[in-house]
């Protein structure tokens, strides 16, 4: 009877675990589209209103500048966040958490701030030797990236840095 229940449970819970196979932007394209690409640690995040939208401002302590020249501390802006009794959710936008180590692809914005390029594709969370973008909320167009390039997906930090530095 116990075996039967085990079989029954396996049958009832079986479901395909398939991930989307779409290809979107390459790391190299992200780098080419960015003024600076930095590696660093998120010190704090603050959400505030700006012209009818909520943006989250993430302060990043830069440990390495992989492309362009970046200050020691940089502000990365991403849409969405919560201010008081109002929240805004932007599907596909990068989400920052205080304390996490990141590699971010940034374009210059106003007032010395920077905006994340490519939404969630433009922010990799570094965990150990692996860097990984959270792209679960992005719509992917199944395009091919250029030969020799690699889409924004989980990879070793070393490879990510090499691809960013070599993008021309």
């Amino acid at each position: 009877m116990r075996k039967l229940f085990a079989l029954a449970a396996a049958l009832a819970t079986a479901s395909p675990a398939v991930a989307a196979q779409a290809v979107a932007t390459s790391v190299e394209d992200l780098a080419r589209a960015s003024d600076v690409v930095v590696r660093g640690r998120v010190i704090s995040t603050t959400a505030r209103w700006s012209e009818g939208r909520i943006y989250t401002f993430a302060e990043v302590q830069v440990s390495a500048s992989l492309r362009g020249t970046a200050p020691a501390r940089i502000t990365a802006i991403t849409p969405g966040g919560v201010v008081g009794d109002v929240g805004q959710r932007v599907d596909g936008a990068a989400v920052f958490t205080s304390g996490e180590e990141v590699v971010v692809f940034l374009g210059r914005s106003q007032g010395g701030t920077y905006r994340v390029n490519g939404l969630a594709q433009g922010k990799f969370a570094v965990e150990g030797k692996v860097a990984r973008p959270d792209v679960s909320r992005l719509d992917f167009v199944a395009n091919q990236v250029r030969a020799g390039e690699r889409r924004a997906e989980a990879m070793s930090v070393d490879e990510l840095e090499t691809r960013v530095r070599s993008a021309r």
């Binding site: 080419r32 929240g87 390029n117 909320r137 992005l138 992917f140």
Partner: protein, 320 residues
């Protein structure tokens, strides 16, 4: 085979035959379907307006065609099992995505704000330009909500169309070529585009998908367990949900809801019944995490539980 074994087997087979729910609800914590509160409208009629006329190059070459297809796409989310309805509020000339104005706007943008030397929402509003980076994203939905309840108060959709330029410094066009024919007949290589290396996107496909976000659904096939149930991740599969995040160039399949999408909207907004908030739809396994739907087949697990109860009762009745 004993009677209890036969009953358990029959109920279990029935449980296995019930399709697992794959739809995932958006929550107040972006990217974390197991945390926060589920997003929902507290009304069954949500009015939207469309601005397809302010783009530099008209989407689908004729703005009225894009408006018409947009209007024809929203009703997909009103199958017979729900009374939720998107109401067409008509055309608009507004280019402002403002979470506090209560106007649910669909706006077709073109050109990069960064190419104009400005950034931010004011720049996007003034020039109707795309302010979300030059790579990757076709369309974006911004949902404004009350964090303490999950109630949606405003939802705006921006779509990034081609600006008519034959290519910038990179040699690639700026924005996506938007098409309205069914099936999509315009491709990158055909007039008026005539460029390679571009991406052409069906307006109906993308509007229907983004409308799912506007009503409070998240992506399927994107999250780990218990939200990993996935009818099909292949966008060319007719069973693939509209809320599948993969989009094929020229794809029109997302204009029509898959059974899982219908299950999603009708679970949240059931016909003649109360809107399902998190607590009423949270599967037992995920209760501690807050809001959760989809993922593991809740119905199947429920039936499996029934089979265990029946077997226990039969054993008790035999032993008494």
């Amino acid at each position: 085979m004993s009677r209890s074994v036969r009953v358990v087997l029959a109920v279990t087979l029935l449980a296995a035959a019930v399709p697992a729910e794959a739809f995932v609800r958006s929550t107040t914590v972006s990217g974390q379907p197991g945390q926060g509160l589920c997003l929902y409208w507290n009304t069954r009629q949500v009015t939207y307006k469309v601005n397809a006329t302010s783009a530099i190059a008209p989407p689908c070459q004729v703005a009225s065609a894009a408006e018409a297809l947009t209007a024809a796409s929203f009703p997909a989310w009103t199958p017979s099992c729900t009374d939720f309805q998107f109401v067409n509020g008509g055309p608009s000339t507004s280019t402002a995505v403002n979470g506090l104005d209560g106007v649910n706007l669909v706006v077709f943008r073109s050109g990069l704000c960064s190419d104009l030397g400005c950034a931010g929402n004011a720049c996007a509003t003034q020039h109707n330009c795309w302010d979300h980076g030059s790579v990757g994203t076709i369309a974006l939905t911004t949902t404004t909500f009350v964090p303490s309840t999950g109630q949606i108060t405003d939802a705006d959709m921006e779509i990034y169309g081609w600006n008519g330029s034959t290519g910038g410094a990179s040699g690639l066009p700026t924005g996506f070529y938007l098409t309205c024919a069914s099936p999509a007949s315009t491709t990158c290589a055909r007039p008026p585009y005539g460029l390679t290396g571009c991406t052409y996107i069906d307006v109906g496909n993308i509007v229907t998908h983004e409308a799912g976000h506007m009503l409070g659904l998240d992506h399927t096939c994107s999250y780990p367990a218990p939200h990993d149930s996935c009818p099909s991740a292949n966008a060319s599969d007719p069973n693939a949900p509209t809320m599948n995040p993969e989009v094929l160039p020229g794809e029109t399949g997302k204009r029509t809801l898959a059974p899982d999408d219908v299950n999603g909207v009708c679970t949240v907004y059931p016909l003649g019944a109360a809107t399902a908030t998190c607590s009423s739809v949270t599967p037992p396994a995920a209760k501690s995490g807050g809001c959760s739907t989809g993922g593991v087949g809740g119905e199947a697990m429920g039936l499996l539980g029934v089979s265990f109860m029946i077997a226990r009762r039969l054993r008790r009745s035999r032993s008494s």
